[in-house]
Symmetry: C2
Subunit: 148 residues, 2 copies
């Protein structure tokens, strides 16, 4: 596993109750055009698994590009999911930071060996993701992203 | 004010109840030496102002360097402060992202004109900071940092 000094934080993700409203706020505060959002694919496409089980959960996603990373907005749709858990527990707030990996299973195994369990995973057009439940230790979760 | 695509996120900051314990967790999860923390200067040095008033608040700070930004851990000491507010409301969690600025007052004025009020400011060896209360709009606050 990379040392933090060699690890790039590619995303910071904020879970929100209302992505339309959040996009309006991001546009107003940063003086940009309102980010567009889209709905993730249905479960049979995304192969989403939450705590080992299939779930119908989807999400509305929007992105704001900063110079050195992407800020992601996530509104949970249906559930259960790690996004909905976070929203119910914490309200609109930062949920995770993301790292790119090569070799998803090995990376997940390494984090799990360090006490950070994988609790949700899925596919998206172009790659796959896994969420590691680190909030109790790090104050936020970790997402691993692997391009296909 | 810079557009997000030209703005570098220099820090992500996590407010924690116990920085010693948080440093142990960061070391264990990321396989690094335990980060060292230090206590910020007393109020007469830091010139800290919270909601326009002097406050005895200080903080214990530790840093973990990633390739493209610094992760900051903050334990509130005494108060009142924006850090203590966040900890009491949200527990251990991400409080803000930081941007570097040149011309602090102009930057603060621009954010305030966009509906994001400055609620805490202070000096540190080498520069000054200001916190903008954006959590209700962005899901996190913003810190502006200006080198002296």
């Amino acid at each position: 596993m990379k040392q933090p000094k060699d690890e790039t934080v590619t995303q910071i993700a904020v879970v929100v109750a209302d992505i339309e409203r959040a996009c309006e706020h991001y546009a107003a505060v940063f003086g940009i055009e309102k980010p567009a959002w889209f709905l993730t694919e249905e479960a049979d496409e995304s192969q989403i698994r939450y705590r080992g089980q299939p779930t119908p959960a989807r999400a509305k996603l929007a992105f704001v590009e900063f110079a050195n990373l992407t800020l992601e907005l996530i509104e949970p749709v249906d559930g259960p999911s790690i996004w909905r858990d976070h929203l119910e527990r914490c309200g609109d707030s930062v949920h995770h930071i993301a790292f790119g990996v090569k070799g998803m299973q090995q990376a997940v195994d390494e984090y799990e060996a360090r006490g950070v369990p994988m609790v949700q995973k899925g596919e998206y057009p172009g790659g796959r993701y896994a969420y590691l439940a680190a909030a109790d230790k790090l104050g936020m979760d970790i997402e691993l992203l692997e391009s296909a």
